[in-house]
Point group: C2
Chain length 161, copies 2
DNA sequence: TCAAGATATATGCAAACGCATATATCTGAG
DNA sequence: CTCAGATATATGCGTTTGCATATATCTTGA
């Protein structure tokens, strides 16, 4: 297995580039009003959950440090878009859910955004089959074990300049 | 073509999730020293270019506003990792290239990081064929026309609140 | 039952960011 | 040649972020 390593790195670089290009394109769309994409990400994640989420659970989906997310959530609550209630079963934690206003906001922006997304991926000329491949592969990538460093241990072999 | 739109959105969400999961995983690796991932991104991009890059060109690869990138570049130059020279042919612009120290730094971290990347994508159980598919699809996505709003124009069809 | 450590979230503070806009330079129509 | 507008980068300023750490609560083993 020679280029295995190279193959993986090329794929990852392509993914990074695609991500950056598309995020910029979506950010440039005139659909966000006074909601940032990060804020939308939180609203969206909450919208997909039946029961209230903890901050730490949210934090698995949002690319933000815990303190930053904690404060983002406070701001969204102050703006009336989400509700923060303490969990009687674990009084350390905070349960987050969309308010009606938050749900309405998410739905509106979500509709527009979904359209942008569909348009962008179509424009790129991806076939339905490719879209499915992309989803399948990315889902595999997302289901990572979150292994903690010293685990796999066969860190020998290297790759010079 | 019914689920076309849904297909695209599901694929995009999977890509976003994979991106977030992997970025967090890589950020957690103990290989970065006093270089942030964003800084590394700049060093890496510069390392892949024969001739000096402008800030505006760099900015196409780095997910950061122009002023933020401008200042990041100043900081890297102050730290001696990159060189900023003004372009005699266009005195508005700044030409950026790696210093020797910057190149050494990029190579060292790059080697470690490449290993993390390969390990992560392997662990996810992607076959070489899947790695190639992922790269191909993401490259298509990255090659977007950067169309400016009013371009494609068939923005009819709607979908109300 | 209780202290030691784990877990969930919050806070202080300096660094970094985005937005609006300034500055310098280039380009093209007239 | 010149001036209006475009382009490339920088700066002012209020907001947001990350890091380190504090606070509150849970869990567990002796």
């Amino acid at each position: 297995m020679p280029g295995r390593r190279v193959l993986a790195n090329d794929a990852w670089e392509a993914l990074l580039t695609a991500h950056a290009v598309l995020i910029k394109q979506f950010a440039a769309e005139d659909i966000w009003g006074d909601i940032s994409m990060r804020e939308y990400d939180v609203l969206y994640t909450l919208s997909k959950c039946r029961e209230p989420l903890r901050i730490s659970e949210l934090n698995r989906h949002v690319l933000l440090s815990q303190p930053a997310l904690s404060r983002l959530v406070v701001r969204l609550a102050e703006r009336g878009l989400i509700e923060r209630q303490s969990d009687p079963a674990d009084r350390r934690s905070v349960r987050l859910s969309l308010s009606d206003a938050g749900r309405a906001c998410q739905r509106q922006i979500g509709r527009w955004h979904a359209r942008s997304v569909a348009r962008a991926l179509m424009t790129a000329g991806l076939s339905p089959s490719e879209l499915r491949q992309l989803e399948t592969i990315c889902l595999k990538l997302a289901r990572q074990p979150a292994h903690t460093g010293t685990a796999t241990e066969d860190n020998n072999e290297d790759m010079h300049p």
